[in-house]
Symmetry: C2
Subunit: 657 residues, 2 copies
């Protein structure tokens, strides 16, 4: 009884703070927050093992608030407990900090946003359905650390309609990531009205049971029920053979304040008289429940901080050719042509041997992306996670692994990376240094047709790569290696870089360019493949090879352009501007995507400097279709070597007119 | 017995054709195809009601092959039956057509791709997990037509791991779209290996039963079991009170050819001796099963073609102000400021009244996007589909509604549209004229923070808008109305246009620009807000209003730029080039996204023409955070009116240096 009274008292205190800080902000979700008052109280004051002075410490239990909009209740607790906040120099959070909710200079953002200075949350959430996958990644990281940390994830009932939740549940079951404790908050209301019967507590419990969970269907405002459900989870969290626990909690939106329950007040700050009334009602509720805070009744347990020591030895990485011999298939070490996807697999495996932080994920296409070279290496056992055909979960799971201290490489077809663009955007809000690798990009895969081709991906990622992190460096790099050597070196560069990257590989074997030996491949770099003077051809990935063929055609016409392999976005703008100047101010860009990529980037460089440049852009300008051979598809899209040569000559002619 | 023998004979014939045509193509998925030999035979020769001479006719039963890679089996049947193929002039498909599988000039693409001339498939598939949602949209369209057509959807077992499948199942249950017959093809193998136990036939059946389906767990190679399961579906397809049927079929990858079953041959064409052997084994299987084709034993039933006559009266659409009065909330008709999202809702409702093809979908945010104005109108009952928090299903479902003859408007926050970018790309492969509306775009929503802000969306959609359809017109338009009048007119324009569009609305009320009355808003258009001479400021959406404020600041400094509201991508390039020339060749673009939008588009226009232009681009260059007011957020991102004015003056100065 003492326990219940203490939890009620604290829950009511937090619900009041949540009301007050959202009122101060003029927006927010106080009724959603109130529905979590007891769950968050038991978790943050009594159950989770963490250090309020180091909420981001490895080895701690973590709370992923997948229904991010309910965050005011966590902010209330953090302010009351005095959890550390702040970027750089940190301080103990106060009620005053909480009252600055949603201010432009506040660490307390509208939705969970650790990068702005609230490290208690392991990742940004608020675009719904992603938290459970993040928690799964955190749990895998903890297991790799030989830790026993538990990852609590609170998911809304309406949110459970997102397919990614099912993807995450399946992933947790298959990988026995039982350190994750899924808690479904069934308050019965979404934004526009009542939740579907399909997401009722009973229905959710039945589905979870059928899937394989041992479900605790509890009253989410009953302290002892909450505690016993969480204790049940504690007992199975580090086992591999028990049935995993999931908690389905019936809760009340606007708990404790009847005036907030008579209609759906989703996402509305309560102000003025309505606020006064709601606060009074919470006091009434406290009296009714005989709520009484007792110092010492609830106590935050200490985490068992433990972390395997890890030695990173990138200096031991083999050279490109050595790596092919050691980690590639037969014959690769002497190959003249090799697919960039194969070199990626070799590099990933090589990294695995020298960098224990490197882990890999794939979506049932590891024999296409060549992540299988990593997966099948017995020395790397336990560090590959087969995510099956569920890319959204894969990408959010990678965020969890990153936050858990690992360097995750997540690969699938570039086309299917698209499936996770929202998850990737959220990863960028978290500043998660995940390494994304899309294979079969562009049109060179040919025969399978457009449903397997990544085409707007460069435009999407370029826009993100145009943002800067706090240090002024690019937040994200887009990498398009033209040959296997570049793919190998850039994969290593991705691992060294403490930030997100997207690399684009292609299906066909392509020549390893002869002048690669002396070239250093690095983020932000480019390579001059051929120095000419008549024009500048800038290409990336597979199209560099078409451009090389075009050079031969052009040579017959006495035209000698410079060819640049612009494998990185962003790139050295001054250097490219200089090359444009040195080549008659004529620039032809060649890409196998829908545009918005390197051609646009160069146009921006040119216009920013008001350079006298004439530019043309070759890219995919209609929806492609299947062709049996890459050449057929390129010709149909006017992207063949002949097309490149012709465009280059027309560019020069246009300039003379 | 006769029936079974006939089905076996035909199934074996089709499996052989599938082997041969993938061998001819040199790639493809013959073993997946063979696992569907019986299911497809029973469906296409005996059960589905369609006309091989008009496979795309409204009122027909449809087959959505969600596991698109298995398409060779359908091509085999289509060639055998002589189903019409071809763009423009059509012809009956022959075996020779099938043998041209995956050729660049073939209608028979690597994955289902109706736009290339194979109209039997209602939509492009192959990026997995999307078909069931498309089938659901088709079923809703049929119901709106008062038709009884049934939509068969074949889903792979590995594919079922995609969360969108669960989203679609929930949607089917909630909307009682029982015209959909989900058929799970459990052949036990994915690309890299065995399917997870979680997707075993028993596990799938149990999950479906728990969700509310009446499951038929059958041997997918037993003709009579298949027939009776499909007959069971026929009995409930048009009811609203029965339990819906789902079929889970145990099948064999590489059925009929033991040599193809001894290892996982996913996605490999079988050639040479292996092909000879596999074909011989199929003959052996035929003998063992006493397979015998009997003319007349299987017969394709005729569809009950019926379609409600529909009168479209766009000429009766009210004017902007009339519409606000008739369909808006109190006071909107006289408002000076109004959010573009509100005008969207008004326009959608107005369209509903004059265009019975217009239907609407939303993802539990109809009170934010204002699609609720349509949803709540009793005259439009039955034409709004609440998709809840499951955006992937929503977008694919819209594709189905489009293919069923409707004009679907699908809305949610622009941020959450991102969730469906892969589905949208597939919709573009289908050339589906879906209308996508993202609200709360950019940073002006402020308080909720970056998890709710659409930021790379313009770059993504611009790259698609750079592609052309067969007629040479833009495949897709991106629309960014700056005020309520523009949003109203552009919503109407979207409905008139027979192609996909993405419109971006914003949260705050914004001024209705005074000079809007005489302006026509159209796809591809722009409006000159203020004519000056010193520089050209080009803005879109919310940022037009910041730019207007900047004009006032600049006027105090004696600087008079021209301001263009560039609300459409693509746009009239010549007109914009002319404006740049007329304004000293100084261009400043102003956007509330991550770039790659109108600023990049203008840079391309300029460099293509080698115009002497100096351009600067203002856009979001770091991950935003919450602020209580749009002005706070814009100032923090250096995008305020002051920033615009300062950049404009610096642009002029830079040019003088």
């Amino acid at each position: 009884m003492l326990y219940a009274r203490a939890v009620h008292a604290k829950a009511i205190q937090l619900a009041k703070i949540a009301l007050e800080i959202t009122a101060a902000a003029g927006s927010g979700h106080p009724t959603s927050a109130a529905s979590l008052a007891h769950l968050v109280t038991v978790l943050m004051y009594d159950h989770m093992r963490y250090d309020p002075d180091a909420p981001d410490a490895r080895g701690s239990d973590r709370l992923v608030l997948s229904e991010g909009h309910a965050c005011p209740i966590v902010y209330a607790a953090a302010a009351d407990i005095g959890i550390r906040i702040g970027q750089g120099p940190s301080r103990r959070m106060t009620l005053e900090d909480a009252t600055r909710l949603r201010q432009i200079d506040s660490e307390v953002d509208g939705h969970p946003n650790p990068a702005e200075g609230f490290p208690f949350f392991p990742a940004a959430t608020g675009s719904l359905g992603q938290g459970l996958s993040i928690a799964a990644g955190l749990a895998l990281a903890s297991r790799l650390d030989c830790g026993d940390a538990r990852m609590f994830c609170i998911i809304g009932d309406g949110e459970s309609r997102e397919g990614q939740i099912q993807e995450a549940l399946d992933f947790i079951l298959e990988h026995r990531a039982y350190g994750v404790c899924p808690i479904f908050n069934c308050n019965g209301y979404g934004q526009t009205g009542e939740i579907s019967d399909l997401q009722s507590p009973d229905s959710m419990a039945a589905r979870l049971e059928t899937s394989g969970f041992d479900v605790r269907l509890i009253d989410g405002h009953d302290p002892t029920s909450i505690r016993s459900a969480l204790d049940a989870h504690a007992r199975v969290a580090t086992t591999l053979d028990a049935r995993p626990i999931a908690i389905v909690a019936r809760t009340v939106k606007g708990w404790g304040s009847p005036s907030l329950q008579d209609r759906n007040l989703h996402g509305k700050a309560i102000t003025g008289d309505a606020l006064t009334r709601a606060l009074e009602e919470l006091d009434d509720t406290a009296r009714r429940l005989d709520a009484r805070w007792a110092v010492g009744e609830l106590r935050i347990p200490t985490p068992r901080t433990k972390q395997a020591p890890r030695t990173v030895r990138h200096e031991d990485l083999p050279s490109f050719r050595e790596a092919l011999e050691r980690y590639g298939d037969d014959g690769w070490d002497n190959a003249d042509t090799l697919a960039t996807r194969k070199a990626y697999g070799v590099a990933l495996r090589a990294l695995g041997h020298v960098d224990p932080r490197v882990v890999a994920l794939d979506g049932d296409v590891g024999n296409s992306t060549y992540s299988e070279l990593f997966a099948d290496d017995p020395d790397l056992e336990g560090r590959f996670f087969e995510c099956r055909i569920a890319e959204q979960n894969m990408m959010s799971c990678a965020v969890g692994l990153w936050k858990g201290g690992y360097v995750p490489f997540a690969s699938t077809f570039g086309k299917f990376v698209t499936r996770a663009y929202d998850q990737i955007e959220m990863a960028m809000v978290s500043r998660a240094a995940i390494k994304m690798v899309g294979s079969h990009c562009g049109v060179s895969l040919a025969a399978d047709g457009p449903s397997q081709m990544a085409l707007p991906d460069v435009a999407f990622f370029r826009s993100i790569s145009a943002t800067r992190n706090r240090a002024g460096a690019p937040l994200c790099y887009v990498l398009q290696p033209a040959d296997a050597r570049a793919a190998y070196e850039l994969t290593l560069a991705m691992a060294r870089h403490d930030g997100p990257c997207y690399m684009r590989t292609v299906r066909p074997d392509v020549p390893i360019l002869p002048n690669g030996d002396g070239v250093r491949f690095e983020l932000g770099g480019h390579r001059v493949v051929r120095t000419g003077e008549d024009a500048l051809i800038v290409a990336s990935g597979y199209m560099v090879h078409e451009a090389v063929k075009a050079l031969e055609i052009l040579a017959k016409h006495g035209v000698r352009p410079t060819l640049v392999d612009l494998y990185s976005l962003p790139f050295d703008e001054e250097a490219i501007a200089e090359l444009a100047r040195d080549n008659n101010g004529l620039v032809l860009s060649v890409e196998d995507n829908y545009g918005g990529g390197i051609g646009s980037a160069i146009a921006e460089v040119v216009t920013e400097r008001a350079l006298p440049v004439r530019a043309r852009r070759l890219h995919v300008r209609r929806v492609p279709k299947s062709g049996r051979d890459p050449d057929d598809v390129l010709a149909a899209l006017s992207l063949s070597a002949d097309d490149i040569a012709r465009e280059c000559m027309e560019l020069a002619k246009a300039d003379q007119r």
